[in-house]
């Protein structure tokens, strides 16, 4: 009987100690979260480019006109970068759980320039290290954010010619395959 009680007590202590050692649930790693969001954004943008712009635009059936001033043109449609930005604006109307934006250190529209030091640092990093992402944490107000910056690349002549020839572009020598800006995804921690 004594032995049984002793064993029971030891088992209880052991269970108690094991319970104390359990790691706290931490949720999704912010890097995996932002990488996953970027994967969805990238896939949607690629599909819009391939399945709508290329298929129905001048290189395909030629029934739509992708153009920066699409609203002013019959059958005009958004350029892939504009469609991407429209998605970011629609998400911003829905939630503050995360934000994303297309920015550049050479923006055509000054509204798309980096606004925080972390954004600037990230955009400079991805421009200097083609193919690499940038991750950091920044405190804005009382909230700490995980900020990820992913490269936005000139993938067609349409990208380079539009930016190089645009009167408001601060850079006029973009080459195909060059980093033109970045997608900034910010998540509160």
């Amino acid at each position: 009987m004594k032995k049984t009680l002793m064993t029971l007590a030891m088992a209880t202590v052991a269970v108690g100690l094991t319970g104390c050692g359990e790691p706290e649930s931490k949720g999704v790693d912010p890097k995996i979260y932002t990488d996953s969001l970027f994967a969805v954004m990238k896939a949607d943008r690629t599909n819009y480019t391939k399945l709508v712009v290329k298929r129905l635009g001048p290189a395909g059936a030629n029934v739509i006109k992708p153009d920066e001033h699409w609203k002013d043109i019959d059958n005009g449609t958004l350029l892939p970068a504009q469609m991407f930005r429209a998605g970011a604006e629609a998400v911003a109307e829905m939630t503050d759980d995360f934000t994303y934006s297309l920015q550049s250190i050479w923006p055509i529209n000054s509204q798309n320039a980096p606004k925080t030091d972390m954004e600037k640092k990230g955009l400079e990093y991805i421009a200097a290290n083609p193919g690499e992402n940038f991750y950091g944490e920044e405190k804005l107000g009382d909230t700490t954010y995980f900020t990820a910056v992913y490269p936005d690349v000139a993938v067609s002549d349409a990208c380079t010619s539009c930016h190089n020839d645009h009167k408001d572009s601060p850079k006029s020598d973009f080459q195909l395959g060059e980093v033109m800006g970045g997608v900034v995804i910010r998540v509160p921690l």
């Binding site: 994967a39 990238k42 391939k50 083609p130 193919g131 490269p151 993938v155 002549d157 195909l176 395959g177």
Partner: protein, 118 residues
């Protein structure tokens, strides 16, 4: 007697050492070194010219080392993949816009992709 045994053992060691030296080991190490150098040269070409899209999957570019993305591409064979890269394919512009790359260099890069996907 002891001295002659020691001499015999010493001679045997020398013969074995000489045989090992003459074996194909050195040759295979050299070719391994060459393959490694080729792999590194291709990796450098990739980093300088292609990484910006192929590390990220930009515009659907198959990501280097992503076995899932390469699963349907590998069976097409290196020649077809090189042709697509040189002439452009889908959303990828000819040579990825890097006109200075030769077909031989693009083949090197494609072979690097294939190796990374296997």
């Amino acid at each position: 007697m002891l001295a002659s045994r020691v001499r015999l053992c010493f001679s045997a060691i020398l013969i074995i050492a000489a045989l090992v030296g003459c074996s194909g080991e050195r040759g295979s190490t050299e070719s391994l070194g060459t393959a490694e150098q080729q792999h590194k040269a291709a990796e450098l070409l990739y980093k300088q010219n292609c990484k910006v899209c192929h590390a990220q999957g930009i515009n659907g570019a198959p990501i280097v080392g992503n076995k899932k993305m390469w699963a349907d591409r590998l069976p097409q064979g290196v020649d077809v993949l090189v042709k697509h890269a040189v002439e452009g394919y889908g959303l990828m512009p000819a040579k990825g816009g890097k006109d200075h790359l030769t077909e031989a260099e693009i083949r090197q890069i494609v072979e690097y992709y294939v190796a990374m996907a296997n």
